[in-house]
Amino acid sequence: MADADKKVIELFYDTISPYSWIAFEVLCRYRSRWNIDLRLRPFSLAAVVTETGNSPPGRVPAKLKWMGRDLMRQAHFYKIPFRGRKDPNNDMANKDNIKPMFLLTAVSMDCPQHLERLTRELWLRFWSREEDITQPASLEAAATAAGIPADQTAALLAKLQDETVKARLTETTQEALRHGAFGAPTIVAHVGGKPHMYWGSDRFLLIADVLGEEWQGPLTELAHL
């Protein structure tokens, strides 16, 4: 199949968004079933929430409780090792959560072949093993676990505060906002020259429809985990 026929799907995501992990794993699995060109776009959920006047869903106690159960059920259904965190609201509000997004942005600029594995490693740290993702040692451990060579890892960590990296993260975030984003994950399917934006990890029936494809369920046999 010629690459030109593949429909581009952009996944705008943030490490602190558990539903983004679900969307990420589903889209990675569907690369082998759908005629798509998946583009990973790390962005800043905190910035999107602020810009749109939104608020984190955990503000409503009953909703937060339900989301915890919902995520455990979905994790089981999709075979994703999500285990939650004791204090998700607090951990998700940490301003240093931008740092893994700088790292992912730098990787997307310099060595995008590592982006998928590093994304997964960060989610495993934060949402599966309740580990830190903000300290340099944590980011180094994630990069190493993702198979990024030591010298490349050192170079990436050295440029986390570079203006070019910050500017790129801001640009990506602005792009998502222009598509109408207000949360994460934000999925944009490009079909017939038009962008089709979807929010969340529960619109795959609609996405399949717009792509002219079939939803084939969770494809747990293709789980990378």
Binding site: W66, F182, W199
Partner: protein, 237 residues
């Protein structure tokens, strides 16, 4: 062997699983979920129990806010509802003034009317629910006035005399109390919006929120999800 001989000892039919559908007709996503659940009554081994509740009471009880208060989210949901209703073959049209419909006029009379029908002649509850959805979200018609409720009732097949009698009960304390109780039951299950669906599996209640958890619900019920089944659409326009 007599009547109750061994030939009658077939494998027992698995008991139907009770699925409670707590809802308020004020919510567009609720119409989607309602139609899907009605279609799946035939496909799944379930006993669907419609439970009209009062969304404003849920929002208050859970300290929640309507989602469209974030402009970008409201814009997205406007399109999302149209895409989903098109795919699910639910004949939805946005009212000319959704804010007035949802936040000013509200649904207390509709909720009480559904409740009294549930208490007195629940065989009409499904179709009355559908007729109210068609009024508010297909034809942009009122659902607050007695004449509106009467019209919906008659379209639902309720004989005129019975419909008028039921209408006369909507301010009865028993009806108000029942609507309040159902709303509280939903809150006790963890509800914070509409629809709230509670599937009872192995004696345990499993709560689902929204109209986009059917594949997961099927998995937990031990059933198969066949998509929205538009070919089984019941809403006649």
């Amino acid at each position: 062997p007599g009547r109750w001989g061994s030939s009658n000892m077939a494998a027992p039919v698995q008991a139907r699983k009770t699925v409670e559908f707590f809802y308020d007709v004020l919510s567009p996503y609720t119409w989607l979920a309602f139609e899907v659940m009605c279609r799946y009554q035939q496909k799944w081994n379930i006993d669907l129990k419609l439970r009209p509740f009062f969304l404003a009471g849920i929002m208050k009880g859970a300290d929640n806010r309507p989602p469209a208060m974030v402009p970008a989210k409201g814009q997205y949901m406007t399109k999302d509802v149209l895409m989903l209703t098109d795919m699910y073959k639910v004949p939805f049209n946005w009212p000319s003034n959704p804010t007035e419909v949802m936040f000013v006029k509200g649904s207390v009379n509709a909720g009480r009317f559904l409740t009294t029908v549930d208490m007195n002649c629940d065989q009409y509850l499904e179709e009355l629910t559908r007729q109210l959805f068609l009024r508010i979200y297909y034809r942009d018609e009122d659902i607050t006035e007695p004449a509106s409720l009467l019209s919906a009732a008659m379209k639902a097949g309720i004989p005129e005399d019975l419909a008028k009698q039921l209408l006369s009960t909507i301010k009865d304390q028993t009806v108000k109390d029942r609507l309040r109780e159902t709303t509280q039951t939903a809150l006790d299950y963890g509800a914070f919006g509409s629809p709230t669906i509670v599937a009872h599996v192995d004696g345990k209640p499993k709560m689902f929120f929204g109209s986009d958890r059917f594949e997961l619900m099927a998995h937990m019920l031990g059933e198969k999800w066949h998509g929205p089944l538009p070919e089984l659409a019941k809403a006649k326009i």
